[in-house]
């Protein structure tokens, strides 16, 4: 019953959106598009959520006519990249959603692609890194943690939700290096996903966790874990945790999630897509999604996005070299 009601509501909204779109189209002479979003991960995760939620809002706002999705997991995202580069032309308006691990994996040489094989359109979401300890650990702060590690780098075992040399490990290394500690000396234990790493922290197998703020927020709010420092450039609203920058370590890092077009994407298509995502960010619907999901927004479009990616690539390359993962 409710399903029908909401379907009805949705189609009403679509009619509304269509009318709004029609007005817009009349003004800007923009035709409604059928976009196709390729997702380099299975359903249910952050990338999948980013693609489906933003696609839904684009459609509800009447900016696009329809949205289809395709989950292509495998090869650490390499399979989706390869498929997208070869077959993007089959669709009217192909888009690919991706995130920071794209840069990490291309630096690792796991696949022969990089963001330069794509056309950056818009960054949408930032997930900052956070270092947390169990709630019953002494709340001495990030400085004290660094002091202990400076004395004995093996004193604290740090867990993370991904393999050595991937994002959780690299963000830890960034922070340690800024604090004058050789990241290679500190023990990092990889777990199969952030959930299992969290369980290891709660169960006491590791003393600290390097992880993403988004999936950790509920545990912080519930008082299960205690955050020491975050990697955002400025304080997170509603979170009483210092940033590394204000502690005197100029390190800021965001795991971005954003949209790309194919390399041969026409310039006019790109600027149209950029306009869509700008309207998306300004919409109430998208603000609701961000609040509901606990996501932080990230505003980089077009060439600005490309520069942001280049900077992050440089930052990651330096740290991965320090860790010995890249020559």
């Amino acid at each position: 019953m409710e399903g029908t009601a909401s379907a009805l509501k949705r189609s009403l909204r679509r009619v509304q959106g269509f009318l709004a779109g029609l007005t817009l189209a009349g003004a800007l002479s923009v035709g409604a598009e059928a976009i196709h979003v390729v997702i380099p991960a299975g359903p249910g995760g952050g990338l999948d959520g980013t693609a489906r939620e933003s696609g839904r809002v684009l459609r509800d706002l009447g900016l696009v006519e329809s949205v289809s999705f395709e989950n292509l997991s495998g090869g650490g995202g390499g399979r989706a990249m390869g498929w997208f580069m070869e077959n993007a032309g089959r669709h009217d308006f192909p888009l690919l959603v991706n995130s920071s691990p794209l840069i990490v994996r291309s630096l690792h040489g796991l696949f022969p692609y990089s963001f330069r094989d794509l056309t950056p359109v818009a960054a949408l979401i930032a997930d900052y890194g956070v270092f947390v300890v169990a709630a019953d650990a002494p709340k001495t702060g990030w400085e004290a943690t660094l002091a202990r590690l400076r004395e004995d780098p093996r004193a604290i075992v740090v867990g993370g939700g991904s393999v050595r040399g991937s994002l959780d490990h690299i963000v830890l290394a960034l922070a340690l290096e800024a604090g004058g500690i050789d990241p290679r000396q500190v023990r990092y234990l990889p777990y199969d996903g952030g959930g299992k790493a969290m369980l290891a922290l709660l169960g006491g197998e590791v003393a600290m966790l390097s992880t993403g703020l988004g999936e950790t927020m509920p545990f912080i709010e519930a008082g299960e874990v205690w955050p020491l420092a975050v990697t955002s450039p400025e304080r997170i609203p509603g979170l009483d945790t210092p940033t590394l920058t204000e502690l005197g370590y100029p390190v800021a890092f965001a795991n971005w999630r954003g949209m790309f077009g194919a390399r041969e994407m026409p310039a006019e298509d790109r600027s149209r897509a950029i306009d869509w995502f700008r309207s998306l960010r300004a919409s109430r619907e998208w603000q609701e999604v961000l609040a509901r999901r606990g996501w932080a927004t990230l505003d980089h479009d077009g060439e600005d996005y490309t520069r942001f990616l280049e900077q992050q690539e440089e930052q990651l390359r330096t740290t991965m070299q320090a860790l010995g993962f890249v020559r």
Partner: protein, 498 residues
């Protein structure tokens, strides 16, 4: 708490929601029957449908899809020896031979009732003990997991036929080795891939399961020229044999408790649970006709109870313990529901609604599927010249559809031929598949343990829990080890005499 249960019941019994759970069960069963499509895929396929639904209705439908898919997987396991998901591998051990003997309907009915029993127990246990069991999940850290997995490997001893302990061990070792192909779980580098991107994610479970079970069985039928299967005596109606219910009741009880507890542990809950339950069942075997019935009931009730158990860490800690609950977490987050310690306070209707609807899912599933069984079991009565091509097409298609990669099809054919040759030479395939399933988890946990302990093995005797687990492993191996040593000694003795 009772107030919560009643709220949940009221939510779940809403006619609209009831319709959704029925729809979910049916969709789940059919998706789960497809080769290679398990609960994860079934739920993932339904995500777009769920986005437009109210949270309660969406979650209730997903509960139906989940149980439907688990049951659907058992169907192909029993009828054509094609376990589409790891948790139904153990079901095929006794279920497929039963079907070949002309008792397909009985085996399917046993599976349905045992699943229902396991699910019922699971839902009750979840209602009563969810919050107190959450700490159990935290007791198990890398050393404990390593030993649990070693113990699981030990269950090979249970399904190794008499005198085949050595062959089973060799099989299991081959499985462990196949499991190391792909990306190193610790360092993230690729190994044993021959530089092929097709192997970067390792060998797929569906691929190996279809190759070593369904395809190898089809080839085996061709090579050996098996007789036609006996027609089902039950005919169009499903009826359990007299005394079946009483015979399987203790098994279902034991397996449900075991399954639920194993399911609480994050990791491969349902799979481990089904193997443990089968192993335990073999130790209680009586040597009568109902042993095979119990052999089907044990893994089926255990894997269903474990599926419910896997909701304990999800609902109470907010941590998904299995791939399926991870996808479900995604569905919940898309509704703005954050499972975790505070879910019970902030969203009691959702918390109890999920639990009650899971139970309801079990009930609806039983009601929907019993009438389907006679139709399904007709598959086994197909003549060999129809059945074999059907099984081959079913397996090839299933593997191709999961990856859309033709390389996988050739790889599977290669494995199937090798598996057939190994079977003809007396090497059982079940230990190979078990070793393959456990290999990545075992490696990951063992390496983490050794990183923590600086490479010393002392951690395994460091705590009461690890000592107990270690003792259990030794006990399990004591009997087959002495048997093996005895066999070797007598062989040597006879050799010396000649």
């Amino acid at each position: 708490m009772w107030e919560g249960i009643i709220t949940g019941l009221a939510t779940a019994l809403d006619p609209g929601n009831l319709a959704w759970v029925a729809f979910g069960c049916l969709a789940g069963t059919f998706i789960g029957m497809m080769p290679g499509l398990g609960p994860i895929t079934a739920i993932a396929l339904m995500i777009p449908v769920s986005y437009s639904m109210e949270p309660a209705a969406g979650l209730i439908m997903m509960a139906g899809v989940y149980y439907g898919a688990v049951f659907g997987g058992s169907t192909s396991s029993i009828l054509i020896n094609a376990p589409g998901v790891a948790s139904t591998v153990a079901t095929s051990f006794d279920g497929y031979p039963m079907a070949r003997r002309g008792q397909a309907g009985r085996a399917l009915a046993l599976a349905a009732f045992a699943s229902f029993g396991g699910g019922t127990f699971g839902a009750l246990a979840l209602m009563l003990f969810a919050t107190s069991l959450a700490s159990l999940a935290m007791q198990f850290q890398s050393p404990e997991y390593t030993l649990v997995l070693v113990f699981a490997l030990s269950s090979i001893a249970a399904f190794a036929e008499r005198g085949k302990v050595l062959a089973s061990l060799i099989s299991a070792l081959a499985g462990l080795m196949l499991g190391t192909v792909g990306t190193d779980p610790s360092a993230g580098i690729q190994r044993f891939t021959f530089g092929r991107a097709d192997l970067a994610d390792g060998i797929g479970f569906v691929l190996l399961a279809m190759a070593t079970f369904a395809l190898a069985e089809a080839f085996h039928m061709l090579v050996r020229g098996d007789s036609e299967p006996v027609p089902d005596r039950v005919g169009k109606r499903v009826r359990l044999h007299a005394g079946d219910a009483r015979a399987i009741a203790p098994t279902v009880g034991r397996s449900s408790v075991l399954g639920f507890l194993v399911g609480v542990l994050p990791g491969a809950g349902a799979t481990l649970a089904s193997f443990f339950a089968y192993d335990l069942q073999k130790r209680f075997r009586r040597g009568d006709e109902a042993d095979a019935a119990r052999g089907v009931a044990a893994p089926e009730s255990a894997n269903n109870a474990a599926c419910t158990g896997s909701f304990v860490p999800l609902l109470t800690l907010g941590i998904p313990g299995s791939g399926t609950t991870a996808v479900l977490l995604g569905v919940m987050l898309s509704y703005g529901i954050q499972p975790g310690p505070r879910l019970l306070e902030t969203e009691p209707a959702v918390f109890w609604g999920v639990i009650v609807s899971m139970y309801l899912g079990n009930l609806v599933l039983l009601a929907l599927n019993l009438p389907l069984i006679p139709w399904l079991s007709r598959i086994i009565h197909l003549k060999r010249r129809v059945l074999i091509p059907f099984v081959v097409a079913f397996s090839l298609l299933g593997v191709y559809l999961t990856s859309l990669n033709p390389f996988d099809v050739f790889l599977m054919l290669g494995f199937a031929i090798a598996a057939c040759a190994l079977r003809l030479n007396g090497f059982p395939m079940a230990p190979l598949l078990l070793g393959f399933i456990l290999s990545p988890m075992l490696e990951e946990n063992l390496r983490r343990t050794l990183l923590l302990s600086d490479g010393t093995l002392g951690v395994f005797v460091g705590a009461p829990l690890t000592i107990a687990l270690l003792a259990a492993c030794f006990l399990v191996w004591a009997v087959p080890a002495t048997r093996l040593l005895g066999a070797l000694r007598s062989r040597n003795a006879s050799r010396r005499r000649t």
